[in-house]
Structures are given as structure tokens and as C-alpha cells.
């Protein structure tokens, strides 16, 4: 059963956590990663991205990273974000919940077909 203390994540939060699970990224890179992960199906505007990041930081799911890119490669001022242990736990819980949903849906679909 779904744990009442961890409500389902919004699609934007889920996509951001999945993007950050691969490593620390800055805002623009998160947008591109989400686009890539979803085969271009999900395109996040800055408002949605930073509104979600703001709430995720307040909830302790992500945090600002100390990482700064090399100045010759990129803008050294860029702020990177990383997933926290709490964020990993929330992602795991959400993936488990989605797996359950898919399993139930598959069972129903099989029942309808037979």
C-alpha cells in the first residue's frame, strides 16, 4: 500500500529527481536532461522548473551543490543542484508506487483481453 506520509510526486518533481539521479546538474542542464529522458515529450519552462526546485529545496529533496564548472568550459557562476538522501528515498518510493500502478493496470488489461 502507498505510504500516507509520502504523497505521490508531481510529474515535474519526478522528472527533476530522475534527471538529478544521474549526477549534479545546473538549471538549464536539468531542462535538457528532462527533455532527453522523455524523448522530447516533456518540455519544462523556467517557471515550472524553478518553482519545483524551490519547493524541492524547501522540502529537502534537492540541495545546491558546491560544484562549479571550469571557467574555460562553462560559466563559473553556474549553480548546480544535487539530489539529497531524502530525495533519493522519495524517488524510490514514487518508482515503487508507479510499478504497483502499472502492475495493477496490466492485470486489469489482461483480464479484459481474456
Amino acid at each position: 500500500m502507498t505510504d500516507k506520509r509520502t504523497p505521490p510526486l508531481t510529474p515535474a518533481v519526478l522528472h527533476i529527481l530522475i534527471a538529478l539521479s544521474a549526477g549534479e546538474l545546473h538549471g538549464y542542464a536539468i531542462m535538457k536532461q528532462v527533455q532527453q529522458d522523455s524523448d522530447g515529450e516533456v518540455s519544462m519552462g523556467p517557471g515550472t522548473l524553478y518553482g519545483s526546485l524551490n519547493r524541492m529545496m524547501a522540502a529537502g529533496l534537492v540541495a545546491e551543490s558546491a560544484k562549479r564548472s571550469a571557467p574555460e568550459l562553462d560559466d563559473a557562476r553556474r549553480i548546480y543542484y544535487r539530489i539529497t538522501p531524502q530525495g533519493k528515498a522519495a524517488l524510490d518510493a514514487e518508482l515503487q508506487r508507479l510499478e504497483q500502478v502499472v502492475a495493477v493496470a496490466r492485470q486489469r488489461k489482461t483480464g479484459l483481453a481474456s
Binding site: G27, Y28, G45, P46, G47, T48, Y50, N54, I79
Partner: protein
């Protein structure tokens, strides 16, 4: 030109709540630069996106929603009077629907109770207060005003709670 576009975006970011700006304001500005330079994103879309989220964040994080509640309630009460109507039952229907919507929009039960109560109280005041000056029995009128206000507060809270409950039922 680019500096000016950036300055406008920075001005918009400066209008966000302080906690929002502190957490992600600078990063948002950097992303604006990236989107303009690397993707030639539409400036109109970027500004519109920022404006919409500015409104949303301010509604979510400040008391602006209470101001909207107050304006809606006062409009509900005053507009029919201004039009010379006899405050028909339809006003209460509009009020009920609005309270339901407001209840549904609340993110927590405490805010819902406050805004529902405020809505009911302001509506009752706007419906009844303009008639006070011409009322023959002021004391009786004040008693009625208090009674109806309290009833409206209760009804506002109930309607807001119903909206809150319906929203949670629909989402979960």
C-alpha cells in the same frame, strides 16, 4: 539590447517572494541567458512564463489570495446593489460556487478556513452594511448584521471545506 532584456527578466525575478529569489533567483537568470543564447527562445514566452509563475508563487506564498477572496466577496455583495437589484438568491449561488472554488484552491485546511470565513463575513457586510444608514431600528439592524455575518462565516467555512474535500477526493 540583450542587457535590457536581461534587466527586464531580473526585474521580474525581483518581484518573486524573498525565499524563492534566495533559493533559485540567480540560477533562473542564468537559465534565461542560456535559453536566449543557445536556443533562441521566444522572449515573449519567457516573459509570459515568468509572469504566470510570479503570480502563482505570490498567490501561494503571500496573503495575496486573501485580497482576491475579499475582492470577490465585495463584488458579489456590492454589484447587485449597484445595479439596483433586490439581492436575489442567485447572489448566494455565486457566493457558494466561489467559496467552493476558493476552498478547492487552498493548499491546507487552515488557510481554507480563514479564507472561507473571511469570504462569508465580507459578503454579509457588503450585502447588509449599505442599508444600515436608512434602517429605522439601527440596533435591530446591527443585531441582524452580526447574526447574518456569523451565519455567512459558518457557511463560507463549510463551503470552503466542501471544496477542499472535493479537491482532495478528485486528486487522490
Amino acid at each position: 539590447m540583450k542587457a535590457r532584456q536581461r534587466a527586464i527578466y531580473a526585474w521580474l525575478i525581483a518581484r518573486f517572494p524573498a525565499a524563492y529569489r534566495a533559493r533559485v533567483g540567480q540560477s533562473m537568470l542564468d537559465t534565461f541567458d542560456d535559453l536566449l543564447e543557445r536556443e533562441q527562445a521566444s522572449l515573449f514566452n519567457l516573459y509570459a512564463d515568468a509572469c504566470l509563475h510570479l503570480l502563482k508563487e505570490n498567490l501561494m506564498q503571500t496573503n495575496l489570495r486573501f485580497v482576491i477572496v475579499a475582492i470577490l466577496a465585495l463584488l458579489c455583495g456590492f454589484v447587485p446593489r449597484a445595479l439596483g437589484l433586490q439581492v436575489p438568491g442567485s447572489v448566494y449561488v455565486v457566493w457558494g460556487v466561489l467559496a467552493l472554488l476558493i476552498g478547492a484552491a487552498q493548499s491546507d485546511i487552515r488557510t481554507m478556513l480563514v479564507s472561507g470565513g473571511l469570504f462569508g463575513m465580507l459578503l454579509a457586510l457588503s450585502l447588509l452594511a449599505p442599508g444600515m444608514a436608512s434602517a429605522p431600528d439601527t440596533l435591530g439592524y446591527v443585531a441582524m448584521l452580526v447574526f447574518v455575518s456569523l451565519a455567512a462565516v459558518g457557511a463560507g467555512i463549510l463551503a470552503g471545506a466542501a471544496g477542499f474535500w472535493a479537491r482532495n477526493r478528485l486528486i487522490s
